[in-house]
């Protein structure tokens, strides 16, 4: 693709060089030839860019055809009569190719029957020219060089009156075709959407200038105006217009190219966009303020519907799609991605919420279960064991100390008391009753009393929700266990403070450090418990610098003291 474009440009340059050499040799001015060549080369470059940037559009091909047509015509006409006749007959194509490009911008295709008929008539116009050559000497229809034109090989019979009549007729036809073209351009412009009109404006201006030059030329011929200022105006306007056409088309192309760059920016901007921002961005990108992104289709006049996925559609002008189909595809892809992203992100959020809710439920269920078991142990098993013990004691009262069964009963009672003791510490490990009955501060004070490690305790005495208190309690008790296990002879500092809306639990020991939340199942479980009720747990344990465990739990103090 790139190689082909480069080859085209090289060939065009070589042809132009030959053309300049040819005509300068024949006596044309070099500077004039250079200006003409620059204009023609500009058109070819514009055509190459257009075919590469807009492979879907034929405008580039038409421009290229025009470029090569003007580069190729001319050379050889001084030597060959046949070439002179063909070149002269084909000269309407100079206008028709330009008219074709301008009329069918941006897609390069005729849209209506009238347009197609116009183009057909235009491209067949050379046949009409050829009929004149059957009866004309070369000098009658062409500017011959000083040494004269080559003879006309198609000449049947030189008939000057017929050629004069033909010439007048031809100028009328030329003016008619020009006006026809004008009407078609006006019609087409009317069919364009506002944004399309905006980007096509440079090409339309060029068309206007070109048409003016063309009609002026035809009129000058028609009325056989003698050589003078008007011819000069026509000549320079025509040169200017042929230069303006590729410039106008190039500007329109650059416009589109800039819009392409917008797609990248659009993608970045749309990462977290909502539907409103998306709509504004697409409207800007497509230069179509009528762009709407909706979930339910309510067709509007002149609008097309494009599916964006997840129940969204985009309503827009047809022009958004036809003016630059690639840009349109890119913009729609970006929009789809954005919408898909939003959907996925919503999904993940929902799943996350569901997972954390279910984790919270699990932790709460486990907590309720511990509480129930603790109650059962105290009020059920323990109570019953004491009952049994009482029965043994009463039985023991019935017999003298010397009775052999008396010793057995005493022994059984002793064992029973041991069992009760074990049950008690089991129940306490599950969930200290003081936590429910007197709150965190008291429960932690009891914990300290039972601990082998010295603890400096500073606890907010307010009551909090059961989840909060229980979690806070286990943070401290787990940290305490850790310190007892790993930090021999350590001192523990425990601080439980409340500020604004969270309970902060800070446990610091001066042990060897090096604890890892991912290794110990205790710390891991603690982290799970804390996060399950929406809190965070951080463990800092650099080797040799003790361990600091900090939990932050969202909490609200209970206003009523629950007694």
């Amino acid at each position: 693709m790139k190689a082909r474009a480069a080859a085209l440009l090289v060939i065009a340059a070589l042809l132009l060089a030959f053309r300049i050499w040819y005509f300068v040799r024949l006596g044309d001015w070099l500077w004039l030839m250079l200006i003409t060549a620059t204009v023609q080369y500009t058109v070819i470059v514009a055509g190459v860019i257009a075919t590469r940037r807009r492979p879907d559009s034929r405008v580039g091909l038409i421009l290229l055809a025009w470029g090569f047509f003007v580069v190729l015509r001319g050379p050889g006409t001084a030597e060959s009569g046949a070439l002179l006749v063909i070149e002269s007959s084909l000269q309407p194509w100079y206008w028709i190719l330009l008219a074709h490009a301008m009329l069918t911008y941006p897609d390069g295709r005729a849209h209506t029957r009238t347009e197609r008929v116009f183009l057909l008539v235009g491209y067949l116009w050379p046949l009409w020219w050829f009929t004149a050559w059957l009866f004309a000497e070369p000098a009658w229809l062409s500017n011959c060089p000083a040494n004269g034109c080559p003879p006309n090989p198609f000449l049947i019979e030189p008939t000057k009156p017929f050629v004069d009549l033909w010439f007048t007729f031809n100028n009328v036809i030329a003016i008619g075709i020009g006006l026809w073209f004008l009407s078609l351009v006006i019609l087409r412009r009317r069919r364009m959407a506002a944004p399309q009109r905006r980007s096509a404006a440079p090409a339309l201006w060029a068309t206007g200038v070109l048409l003016f030059a063309y009609l002026l030329e035809a009129a000058l011929f028609l009325f056989q105006v003698p050589d003078g200022d008007l011819w000069a105006v026509m000549y320079w306007t025509k040169r200017l217009a042929t230069f303006l056409v590729p410039i106008g088309l190039l500007i329109a192309l650059v416009n589109t190219k800039l819009a392409r760059a917008d797609v990248a920016a659009l993608l970045v901007r749309l990462r977290h966009a909502d539907a409103g921002e998306l709509q504004a961005s697409l409207a800007k990108l497509f230069r179509d303020p009528s762009v709407r992104i909706v979930q339910e289709v309510s067709p509007q006049e002149h609008s097309e519907v494009t599916d964006l996925g997840d129940g969204y559609v985009m309503l827009h002008h047809q022009s958004a799609r036809t003016e630059d189909p690639e840009l349109f595809e890119a913009g729609v892809a970006a929009a789809r991605m954005t919408i898909d992203n939003a959907r996925l992100s919503r999904q993940v959020q929902a799943q996350l919420a569901e997972v954390s809710a279910s984790r919270e439920r699990l932790v709460q269920a486990a907590e309720a279960e511990r509480k129930r078991v603790e109650r059962d142990l105290h009020d059920g098993a323990q109570q019953q064991l004491i009952g049994v013990g009482l029965a043994l004691q009463t039985a023991r009262l019935e017999m003298p100390d010397s009775h052999p069964v008396a010793a057995m009963l005493d022994d059984a009672t002793g064992q029973l008391r041991q069992s009760i003791d074990e049950l008690r510490s089991l129940a306490r490990g599950l969930r200290p009753a003081m936590l429910t009955e007197r709150g965190l501060a008291t429960a932690l004070a009891e914990l300290r009393r039972r601990s082998n490690v010295p603890i400096a305790l500073e606890v907010d005495t307010r009551r909090f929700g059961e989840d909060v208190e229980t979690t806070a309690y286990f943070v401290v008790s787990e940290a305490l266990q850790n310190a007892t296990r790993h930090a021999c002879g350590a001192h523990l500092q425990v601080r439980v403070t409340f500020s604004s809306d969270e309970l902060q639990i800070l446990v610091r020991d001066d042990g060897p450090g090096g604890a890892d939340v991912h290794k110990g199942s205790g710390l891991r479980g603690l982290s799970d418990r804390v996060t399950a009720i929406g809190g965070t747990l951080t463990v800092q344990s650099p080797p040799g610098q003790g361990t600091t465990i900090e939990a932050r739990i969202p909490a609200t103090p209970l206003t009523q003291r629950s007694e």
Binding site: G389, L390, R417, A427, R438, T442, E446, R448, R449
Partner: protein, 216 residues
Amino acid sequence: MRLVIADDSLIIRAGLIKLLGAIDTFDVVGEAADAEQLHRIIAHERPDVAVVDIRMPPTHTDEGIRAASRIRREHPSVAVLVLSQYIEAAYAMELLEGGSTHVGYLLKDRILQRATLIEAIGRIRDGEVVVDSTLVDALLAAPAVPAALEALSEREREVLALMAEGLTDRGIAERLSVSPRTVGTHIQHIFDRLGIADTATDNRRVRAVLSYLDAI
């Protein structure tokens, strides 16, 4: 000695009645399944001692402690022994704050040690404070010396802990194998160092115990 027993468990109540009723000097004059019933019976019977379970309807938490405070307030002649599945310093302090004589706080399974139970009932009837030895053991085992008690020597802290347990001077002397005189000197030192002014001897003892419980 006239006793009232309160426990929501029928088995325990029946067992206690049988066990204590078997002692010649004890006379169980009433039983209650909850605190309300207990207060009615006490107002009616005016017993010497009430043996009360800490967990009773409706909340099954600390009804016994609150009942004890109310009984001590409304009927100062009635001594109260609270039995509990577990011993908590916080409850011990609440009990002592309510009235610092004639109260006891024992682990519930002490009722399987008849001698301990009977001795405790006798002592609280005589106006002493009895706290379960497990609490005192835990207190003694505590590794850190609370700031408030730093002024005391190790021996004096030991004596104070035994006072908290409810022992008399003689009891303490026996436990530590020293003379009651020595114990008296220690106790005087404790009062001085804790800054407990000389008002009424009984109150000073209790206040020393309170400051001890408060400190740990």
